[in-house]
């Protein structure tokens, strides 16, 4: 969709501002923001918007403060940065308004698809190596020396993996790190599940069991370790979301426990017949339990960010918390990051409606009421069409409408005394997304920052640098790309697997791999230990 605005500024609402080492030096008392000036008065819409923004800020910062103290005391939370855009404008220095008004050229579906394909193709230089993909598969089918097959497939995996990582990043920027990672690993593991089921049908229970443990070991040790080592070479400090990591660690303990218990049962019972049946029963019972636990874990991950189906349900019941702020927030958020911003819009309204239902956040109630009173029908229409995830075209139209509508009103860049120290510390967009994640997971409304009209749209250096490789393709395209690339990676790995050659560097590994083409069940018993 919005892949072709190369010259437009990368705008970013300075939402998740960088924080220092987990202390509260960045924490502003909520009352300070209540008195923030909202200097934009450009017509009735603006006035309403600033009024709602104040309400929004009240609600948000109370909620955030509570969240901050109770749930995540170690991390400071994002707060709005009110900056003049000229300070931070990088792409076209000196002409912010022109760039802000950069007209979205009307494109039809075909053009957007072509643009998406171009974005995918230009995402990395490694895509040139994709020519090895058919070559690798062909050599896997034909009888060629195994080393040729292995090299072709190993080379073909490089661009596929870069595409996979690109798609994952797109989805992660769009929907958050958890969802991006979840989609990535799900497609990877589905292929493994298919492999395991085939092995299980052929009665290779030991292979399946070993592969399950081996997958966990590879993921926990090798992949995590090499990712950490590689991450050391990039300039940013590797700090991650503690809450998420601790939840993962606890889940890991549980899963290890579930494997430990059958082992202990196996070694405590004497009678072999009885022991095997007891282990089998225990395994099946704990398998059911583990599935329930995994379902709860998925719910925990995904619940604060409800799906669109839920949105459409709640829309019909609850007054839309609407979108007075949306056109204004969109004035400067064109092109590259507009998908991120739009995501925040949608979930913004979504979350508000959910919140008014759950009534655990008292602070947000007046805001929702006030908003629903004042929502004009045009914005209702706009927002409705924007929140329809499936209807890309409508969304595009809506964006065009918004941008066209807001062109005569360039955004008011308000200044605030609290915005002086911002630029150098806002470089880390990863952290910003991370804080959004944390806040969303714990039910706060941090991403309201992204749509609040008093928050000024500021061009962000870090995001600008980041978005050079950043996501520019739409969400369905990213998902399709993710599926295709993970399938092809699995295919390549599978083709190259039985024919591991004598590679000197990997001699030991290659020797080990040479067993892969042995049909274990065909081995006579004396070959087994």
């Amino acid at each position: 969709m919005s892949t072709h605005h190369a010259a437009t500024p990368t705008t970013e609402l300075a939402a998740g501002e960088d924080t220092s080492e987990g202390d509260s030096s960045d924490d502003e008392p909520p009352t300070q923001h209540l008195t923030d000036p909202c200097p934009s008065h450009e017509g009735p819409v603006r006035e309403h918007a600033s009024l709602f923004a104040r309400l929004n800020l009240c609600g948000k910062y109370q909620t955030l403060a509570v969240t901050n103290r109770k749930l995540i005391p170690m991390t400071a939370f994002p707060r709005p940065r009110l900056r003049p855009v000229a300070q931070t404008y990088d792409a076209v220095p000196g002409s912010p308004s022109e760039a802000v008004r950069a007209p979205p050229k009307p494109r039809d579906h075909l053009h957007s698809k072509i643009a998406t394909l171009r974005a995918i193709a230009l995402s990395s230089w490694a895509n040139l190596l994709l020519v090895f993909l058919p070559a690798g598969i062909a050599t896997g089918i034909c009888k060629v020396p195994p080393i040729v097959t292995f090299i072709c497939n190993a080379v073909a995996i490089i661009p596929l993996s870069s595409l996979l990582a690109y798609a994952t990043e797109c989805i992660a920027t769009d929907l958050g790190d958890t969802v991006g990672a979840l989609l990535n690993i799900s497609f990877g593991n589905i292929i493994e599940v298919i492999m395991f089921v085939i092995a299980l049908i052929h009665n290779h229970i030991r292979v399946v069991q070993g592969a399950l443990v081996g997958s966990m070991l590879v993921n926990l040790l090798l992949i995590l370790g090499s990712a950490v080592i590689v991450g050391e070479f990039q300039p940013l400090e590797m700090v991650y979301d503690m809450a998420n990591a601790q939840a993962l660690a606890c889940l890991l303990s549980l899963s290890v426990f579930s494997i430990l218990i059958p082992s202990s049962l196996h070694y405590t019972m004497v009678d072999e017949q009885e022991r095997d049946s007891a282990v089998l029963t225990l395994s099946r019972a704990s398998a059911l339990t583990l599935l329930v636990v995994y379902g709860v874990y998925l719910t925990f991950l995904l619940r604060p960010r409800p799906r669109y189906g839920i949105l459409s349900d709640t829309e019909s019941q609850y007054p839309r918390p609407t979108s007075l702020d949306v056109p204004i927030a969109d004035t400067a958020t064109v092109s590259r990051l507009s998908r991120t911003i739009r995501f925040a819009d949608e979930h913004h309204s979504e979350r508000n409606s959910l919140r008014s239902k759950s009534s655990d956040s008292i602070a947000l109630e007046p805001m929702n009421e006030a908003r629903s009173e004042h929502s004009p029908p045009l914005h209702e229409l706009l927002d409705e069409s924007a929140s329809d995830a499936d209807n890309q075209h409508l969304r595009q139209m809506t964006d065009r409408l918004r941008k066209a509508k807001s062109r005569p009103h360039p955004p008011a860049y308000s200044r605030s005394p609290s915005n002086s120290r911002s630029r150098s510390r806002s470089l880390n967009s990863t952290r910003r997304f991370r804080y959004r994640d944390i806040a969303e997971r714990y039910g706060s409304v941090a991403s309201d920052d992204l749509t609040t009209p008093t928050l000024d749209v500021t061009t962000n250096v870090g995001v600008h640098a980041n978005s050079a490789h950043g996501p520019v393709i739409s969400r369905p395209a990213a998902v399709v790309l993710l599926i295709c690339s993970s399938l092809l990676v699995a295919l390549c790995a599978d083709v190259s697997l039985p024919n591991v050659p004598h590679v000197s560097l990997l001699k030991g590994v290659a020797c080990l791999w040479s067993m892969a083409d042995v049909d274990i069940s065909s081995l006579s018993p004396q070959y087994r230990l």
Partner: protein, 141 residues
């Protein structure tokens, strides 16, 4: 291990299949981490392991139940011990909220040790198996 659990099968499962099957996750995690998105990298690697432990494991047990195979969660002593050790190490390393190359080296070293032990277990049967292997003739010096 007993005669019912040939080392070769366990070795194939423990080393070969996972490395091939997790190539996508591996390169994704490394690529993403090299861009500084450590949360995403942890989500991919750690999350994949959690998904296997909490979803694929029980799913395979239940599918084995359907297929009338004796698939259990008893994975053998060696596998269980390595898994417990790895989980302990990762749990200790994950709790400080930041990462450095020392931790990454520790994790990789742990995996190398496991792979080495598996390899030396495998050496016992290797000579016998290689005679059966199509690639074995290619590999033999």
């Amino acid at each position: 291990l007993t005669a019912t659990s040939p080392l070769s099968e366990s070795f194939i499962g423990l080393i070969i299949l996972p490395i091939a099957g997790n190539a996508a996750e591996h390169i994704t995690a490394v690529t993403v981490a090299s861009k500084g998105k450590v949360d995403l990298a942890i989500g991919v690697s750690f999350g994949s392991s959690i998904q296997i432990a909490l979803f694929v494991n029980p799913l395979m047990v239940l599918i084995g139940w359907l297929l009338k195979k004796d698939m259990t969660l008893y994975f053998g002593l060696f596998e269980t011990v390595t898994l417990v050790g790895a989980a302990l190490l990762v749990n200790f390393l994950i709790w400080n909220g930041r990462t450095n190359y020392l931790e990454g080296t520790l994790l990789c070293a742990c995996y190398v040790m496991i792979g080495y032990v598996t390899k030396s277990r495998y050496q016992v049967v290797r000579a016998q198996v290689l005679t059966k292997s199509r690639v074995g003739a290619f590999l033999l010096p």
